[in-house]
């Protein structure tokens, strides 16, 4: 059936902020979907609270609502827009959950709105474990064997049936208490008796253990005519027991025979039919017992997912776009395969290459957790690589991760494992961790038994052998310096020049030279869905070392954009957004664009975002090789965050033209000495600062600049490196903690000099994003942070227009921005962070590149700054852009307020102190728009998932310095009718302001123990600001308790006041919603 004409408007639900487990893959999916639905002529309405997404760009939908994805606000949008249909399958779990809630509230029925993509029944059947198991069992698709038991006798007979090991799960318990895996009869007896005690109903589920089984995923598409295809099979290298998001995964599946694969395929398609996914893409997960081949189904997601984004990038088959088309009535055979243009989408892609995805972790930011992988996802990003073989793809993926590794070992970091004994290495192998793959390689390098390694890790022996073969090549390289044949073989196994240089104890340039002499040059192959069976025009390439290269001849007007690599905390979707905008702007102005990136979750790695896509690691070797083929007239390095900036030097040295601001100017901004000289020269104030190479020097610097001081090592050594220090004692403790004391008590700072800045207390932090062309400056926006300076800008909320800055301060901020832009020689973007103390304006840092706030400020003001900057980098002037109407004459005055709020991963890390500080830990952001700062902030808080109460009780405990603001917070909240619980000092202070409070005890003492109040649900909001430098103690316990109980918790006074004001504003709100397009229209009026 072709396009449905009985519906004309569709609401698409996005996935909200980037959180662990729900990354920017849903922007990629959603963008594809809204694009195609509009092309098909539907009116598209979009809701998503995340401003850093491409899908929320105002031109992508007819009406874009940057609103919280809650049942309440989506219902409001539905009532206003009255769409014919809602498409809930593209916004991850968030969209499914809100859809189920809306359905339960009867909203769809009330408004006569149809769900397309997946019916409510299908969503419920897939989401409800019990129902799903029953459906699968009925259809003869195996699920884990299990018995419910109520007596010890029943438990023993269950054990007899299942055999050890078994999983014991008490029924109706919270948080997994009493659950355990029994490997022996003794363990079983103990777990069972504890389990009966733990279960309130005295019931246990005894289930066969599938830990260590092989794990697979199939991406299935099904259309309304019941045609079904498997787009991609994915095999996890890490076995069952490691979350698939945290596993190294490979596509296609490598170790299944045809018989087994086809049976799995049959089950997957049957599963979609039984669950009732009538149209669209679903992900079905299986576990296979490596000893017997027994296959069981684990779960299915009736929606596009992280894996489907990976599958799309791995195959070239755009799952989300197809899912959207199928949802509006098309069948697969009616859709043209975009890649061949001559064959339909009703086929199964076949791969003549191997894809490896490796997750990226940021454990150093979260000291409360061990870097051990388990069933709960902890990774914050991922890199994907394509190679002709598994070893090549694996090594490319490892160097794409940017964790300092050059590939699978053969790099300086491998020395870390040298001192580990063979026995310890074998003991470490069963523990899944981010470094296990290197441990496996090291064990093989030492000649430890491959079978023992496979047993210890439960990694399939085929993968172990492939790694062994790679390690064998490494040995050949090591023992045959400068052998051209071995060099060629090594390149075909994915070794980087840097690895070979390390093994040959020479320079990378020397290896490159030897390759050139031996004519060992890189070739590019096309990702074409069909293993070359049909001619393809896909502009999607990966590098390998083969005989034939398929890269097209370079065009005359080509610009290369370097992406930002895997997401990590501090470098996320915002930078990909900027890169995508550059590609769009270049295309609009007649350039051919070449995108280089290795992050499968992103819009930038969609093959139709740029003219040509190279899915490649962002290393100097890989990028220079593409430059050689594409011969770009300019390379853009200032939009993808630190990753491309780190390559600018190597590119420039190789004579590659860099677009816009020169690497030298970038260096001037990053080099503290050079930047300080520049500021002095221009009479621009910076906080007093200094650099210390020894403990004595550090003491001398703080003597000069005074406390509090912000300290950090110039090279991050791991952990939470940046800290605010209030005393000499704290400084000494910090130095020992960071650098480790020598036996003589001395601390060696020479490896990484300590940077020390005077910390400006109670200063307002301000962010500015601007574009400079050498003559004119366009200020994109001046953003005032909610939290004081000292909280990392990525973790703090910010507001535009700035509510507390005087006209004079704003003028001075603009003036300094202009002078620094000029002084640094900026061509393109400039971000400056200021601290404003009273009327004094200090520059904290300047970054002549895209900042994290570009998407937010672009959305807030309706001016696409990254696009403007791209055109300026390539030579257009701001005056020209203004004359042609592309850019407004001045920064728009906003008739509304926009707030950006950071989203932090505390629910994933329940033992982490939620206190905000100078080290960034946010994974994503949301935006709130409203008539007042309070209203906009309320929406941002709601969008970020904070359950800010409208009434109830608040717990207040403030550091001395915050007590003046504390009175204002308390007054606002008591006026709103809140009951206030306060700690001793805070209560006394508030009493002096005639504010009545209930006095609470210290933790563990007395009836008013704050932890007990929290656990008894007697507190609805916690405002707790830590006293200077002391992160430990009661405050920490209180913040963690609030986090565990899902109670909104604020750790800064300024944040507390903003929350109090937002509650006041929210009380008055009428719930009305306005689209981004309508907001922007109001600017012009």
């Amino acid at each position: 059936m072709p396009r449905r004409s009985d519906i004309t408007s569709i609401l698409v639900i996005g996935s909200g902020p980037i959180i662990i487990g729900q990354g920017c893959e849903f922007d990629y999916s959603g963008t594809q979907a809204v694009k195609v639905l509009r092309e098909l002529g539907y009116r598209v309405i979009l809701v998503n609270s995340n401003p850093a997404t491409i899908m929320t760009d105002p031109e992508f939908a007819d009406a874009t609502y940057i609103e919280p994805i809650t049942a309440q606000s989506v219902a409001e949008i539905l009532r206003k827009e009255r769409p014919d249909a809602v498409l809930p399958t593209l916004g991850g779990q968030t969209a499914l959950n809100v859809t189920m809630e809306l359905a339960a509230n009867g909203v769809f029925e009330e408004l006569d709105i149809e769900l397309i993509g997946a019916s409510l029944q299908a969503i419920e059947a897939a989401e409800d474990r019990g129902q799903f198991k029953e459906l699968m069992d009925d259809a003869g698709i195996a699920t884990p064997r299990a018995h419910y038991v109520r007596t010890t006798e029943e438990a023993l007979s269950a054990l007899e049936d299942l055999g050890l090991p078994v999983m014991v799960r008490p029924s109706f318990i919270l948080g997994g208490g009493g659950t355990g895996l029994a490997y022996s009869a003794e363990q079983f007896d103990e777990i069972v008796s504890n389990g009966f005690a733990a279960s309130p109903v005295g019931e246990l589920l005894i289930e066969e253990s599938i830990a260590g089984w092989k794990e697979y995923e199939l991406e299935v598409m099904r259309d309304a005519a019941d045609n079904a295809v498997i787009v991609c099979s994915i095999e996890n290298i890490d076995p069952m027991g490691v979350h698939t998001g945290d596993s190294i995964t490979v596509a296609p599946a490598m170790t299944l025979s045809d018989r087994e694969y086809q049976e799995m395929r049959d089950d997957a398609i049957a599963c979609l039919r039984i669950v009732g996914v009538e149209t669209g893409g679903s992900n079905v997960q299986f576990a296979v017992d490596p000893r017997t081949g027994r296959r069981i189904i684990i779960e299915m997601n009736p929606r596009v997912s992280r894996s489907s984004a990976l599958a799309s990038k791995a195959t070239g088959f755009p799952i989300a776009k197809m899912a959207a088309m199928l949802a509006v009535g098309f069948t697969l055979d009616e859709i043209v395969n975009d890649i061949t243009k001559a064959t339909p989408a009703s086929f199964e892609p076949t791969l003549d290459y191997v894809v490896v995805k490796i997750p990226r972790f940021d454990f150093a930011k979260f000291p409360s957790v061990d870097p051990v992988l388990g069933t709960s996802m902890q990774s914050v990003g991922e890199a994907m690589a394509i190679g002709r073989t598994f070893p090549e793809a694996l090594q490319k993926a490892l160097r794409s991760l940017e964790t300092g590794r050059l590939g699978l070992g053969a790099d300086p970091t491998e020395h870390e494992l040298e001192s580990v004994s063979d026995d310890d290495l074998l003991l470490a192998l069963p523990v899944a961790s981010p470094v296990r793959i290197f441990e496996v390689a090291e064990a093989l390098r030492r000649g430890l038994d491959a079978g023992a390694i496979a047993d210890a890790t439960a990694i399939d022996p085929w993968f172990i052998d492939q790694i062994a073969e790679t390690v064998g090549i490494r040995h050949m390289v090591e023992t045959n310096p400068n052998d051209p044949e071995i060099l060629r073989t090594a390149k075909r196994f994915g070794f980087s020049d840097a690895q070979i240089a390390y093994l040959w104890k020479t320079h990378e340039a020397d290896v490159r030279e030897q390759r050139s002499v031996g004519s060992i040059s890189v070739t590019y192959k096309t990702v074409d869905t069909c293993a070359a069976e049909f001619a393809a025009s896909t502009p999607y390439f990966y590098s390998t070392y083969e005989e034939e290269s398929e890269a097209p001849p370079s065009g005359p007007k080509t610009v290369m954009v370097l992406g930002s690599g895997p997401n990590r905390i501090g470098q996320g979707i915002e930078f990909d957004y900027c890169c995508v905008h550059a590609a769009f702007a270049l295309e609009e102005t007649g350039y051919e664009t070449v995108m280089v990136n290795c992050n499968p979750e992103t819009v930038s790695t969609d093959y139709d975002t740029s003219t040509r896509l190279y899915f490649e690691p962002l290393t100097a070797e890989d990028v220079l090789a593409i430059v050689e083929v594409e011969k770009p007239m300019a390379v853009i390095v200032q939009l993808g965050g630190q990753t491309p900036l780190g390559l600018a030097g190597a590119l420039e040295a190789a004579g590659v033209p860099i677009a816009g601001t020169t690497p030298d100017a970038i260096d001037m901004a990053e080099d503290r000495e050079r930047f300080s000289r520049l500021c002095t020269e221009f009479g621009i104030r910076q906080p007093a600062n200094g650099t210390a190479l020894s403990a004595a020097e550090a003491h001398a610097v703080v003597d000069r600049i005074g406390f509090p001081a912000l300290v950090r090592p110039s090279y991050v050594l791991g952990g939470r490196a940046m800290r605010i220090i209030y005393s000499i004692e704290e400084l000494s403790a910090y130095l020992t903690e960071m650098y480790g004391a020598t036996p003589g008590g001395e601390v060696d700072l020479s490896r990484s000099p300590l940077l020390i800045d005077r910390f400006l207390e109670s200063a307002i932090e301000v962010d500015v994003d601007a574009v400079f062309d050498g003559v004119d400056l366009y200020v994109g926006g001046i953003m005032e942070h909610v939290e004081e300076a000292g909280v990392h800008s990525g973790d703090s909320a910010c507001v535009v227009p700035p509510p507390h800055l005087s006209t004079d301060v704003v003028a001075e901020v603009r003036d300094i921005t202009r002078r620094l832009a000029d002084g640094l020689g900026v061509r393109g973007l400039l971000n400056i962070q200021f601290a404003v103390q009273g009327d004094d304006v200090f520059v904290l840092e300047a970054n002549p590149r895209a900042s994290r706030t570009i998407p937010f400020i672009s959305k807030a003001t309706g001016v696409p700054l990254a696009k403007i900057a791209t055109r300026v980098m390539l030579g257009e002037s701001i005056a020209e852009l203004q004359a042609s109407g592309v850019l407004p004459p001045t920064t728009p005055d906003l008739p509304y307020t926009a707030v950006k709020e950071a989203v932090l991963p505390w629910t994933r890390f329940p033992d982490e102190d939620t206190m905000l500080g100078p080290e960034m830990r946010a994974t994503g952001e949301v935006m709130g728009l409203g008539d007042s700062t309070g209203m906009a902030y309320a929406k941002a808080l709601s969008g970020a998932g904070h359950k800010v109460p409208n009434e109830g009780s608040v717990f207040l405990s403030l550091a001395d310095r915050d007590k003046p603001v504390g009175a204002e917070i308390a007054r606002t909240l008591t006026d709103l009718g809140f009951k206030i619980y306060a700690t001793h000092g805070t209560a006394g202070n508030l009493a002096r302001h005639s504010i009545a409070t209930t006095h609470v005890d210290k933790v563990g003492e007395g009836p008013y123990d704050p932890l007990r109040l929290i656990s008894e649900d007697r507190i609805d909001l916690v405002i707790n600001t830590p006293a200077g430098g002391k992160a430990r103690g009661d405050g920490r316990l209180i913040r963690m308790a609030a986090n565990r109980h899902g109670i909104a918790s604020v750790t800064t006074a300024a944040g507390g006041l903003a929350v109090a004001n937002s509650i006041a504003a929210n009380r008055l709100a009428d719930g009305a919603v306005l689209s981004l397009q309508d907001h922007h229209k109001a600017i012009l009026q």
Binding site: S257, P290, F347, E533
Partner: protein, 388 residues
């Protein structure tokens, strides 16, 4: 490591490493795009006379297992791969592929830029090639040039059984099928025996009279290698069977049925060899993903006497010819390939005979089309029930 070479008749040479037995082997080089099932492909008699290039880069990962063999021997002349696994990782494996290839005396070249080779075949067509080690590339090109093309070649006589044999069903007996062995795969025989039918496998040159003398409930025309046109004896036999007994054909069997009905066949530029071919059924538009392995195709339009319609855009099922007159009554095209619009199936309206170009038995490939066996056995089962 010993250098191995692949030389094509057009003079193109590809380098790799010789990993199989010593020697030189020649045949028509084709590529197969399946990502699993190398063992079934290697032992499929339809590959007689051909050199197989696997586009999937890693071959041999899960070893080999006797139960996956489609015949006793490897029929392919030689094998070209990107990477051959050193180990076999599967609970079912009884021999690593390296040993299996050696045991079957197969010439193998590994580490070849198989994608370049595939693109070359796609552009220039399947062509004779020679592969080997310890040989000069010019010599190898000459060998390739001296190798005959597949067109007009009778390869069936080299793979068909010399003796008639019977495989009995293990279950409750529903009937009896005579299968013409043009290069039959074991999973096809299993598809009948598992459905309650005894299968009498007969040589390709068995006459209609001899077949009918076996009193079959139905006759099956198997897959097989190469060009159907030279197979005049089987075509004649089929003509003798049509209308007498229900007939079902697969692959070469489909082409032979078409020829018996008076249609023609032609050589495809590089054939269909893989497990991802979308085939659409005319009756309801349903699409199956199918396993395919053929270098020739059926043209039903020649039978209709009208011009083959020119295709614009995606394959269009209104382009499937139906209701064509033949000496055996009306014939309908029933299926077509959505990739290139080629014929994938036919059925006679007035007699019990139908056939498909693809492989419903899969092995290797998707099981989407398995129901075709049910359709056939249900037809003949009903007929034999009526007869009793």
């Amino acid at each position: 490591m010993k250098r191995g070479l692949v030389a094509l008749a057009d003079g193109t040479v590809f380098e790799g490493i010789s990993v199989g037995v010593e020697g030189i082997s020649a045949g028509e080089v084709v590529f197969n795009t399946a990502m699993t099932g190398y063992q079934e492909i290697l032992t499929d008699p339809s590959y007689a006379g051909q050199i197989i290039t696997f586009t999937s880069p890693h071959i041999g990962n899960y070893g080999t297992s006797r139960e996956d063999d489609q015949d006793d021997k490897i029929h392919a002349r030689a094998v070209i791969v990107r990477s051959l696994s050193r180990v076999a990782s599967s609970w079912r494996s009884d021999m690593p592929l390296t040993d299996y290839l050696a045991a079957h005396n197969t010439v193998v070249v590994s580490d070849v830029d198989t994608r370049r080779l595939t693109r070359h075949i796609r552009e220039s067509g399947a062509m004779p090639a020679a592969i080997g080690s310890d040989v000069d590339s010019r010599e190898l090109i000459d060998i390739a040039r001296a190798t005959p093309s597949m067109s007009g070649l009778d390869l069936v006589s080299s793979v068909t059984t010399s003796e008639t044999y019977v495989t009995e069903t293990a279950g409750e007996r529903r009937g009896h099928v005579v299968a013409y062995d043009f290069g039959i795969k074991r999973d096809i025989i299993a598809a009948f025996t598992s459905r309650g039918f005894d299968v009498t496998v007969v040589p390709a040159d068995t006459t209609a009279r001899a077949t009918l003398a076996l009193a079959p409930d139905g006759v099956f025309l198997s897959n097989g290698p190469g060009d159907p046109e030279p197979l005049s004896q089987p075509i004649e036999a089929i003509r003798g069977l049509l209308g007498e007994v229900p007939v079902f054909g697969i692959c070469l069997g489909h082409q032979l049925l078409a020829l018996a009905l008076g249609a023609t066949t032609y050589k495809l530029p590089f054939g269909h060899h893989g497990g991802n071919h979308p085939v659409q059924r005319l009756s309801d538009g349903a699409v199956d993903i199918t396993a395919q392995n053929h270098g020739f195709a059926v043209d039903l339009w020649t039978l209709s006497g009208s011009e083959t319609p020119v295709r614009r855009g995606l394959a269009d099922r209104t382009h499937i010819p139906t209701g064509i007159d033949s000496p055996f009554g009306l014939v309908d095209g029933t299926h077509h390939n959505l990739n290139d619009g080629t014929n994938e199936g036919l059925a006679c309206r007035d007699i019990d005979a139908f056939s498909v170009q693809y492989h419903p038995e899969a092995a290797p490939g998707p099981n989407d089309a398995r129901a075709l066996f049910d359709r056939f056995v249900d037809t003949i089962g009903d007929l034999s029930a009526e007869a009793q």
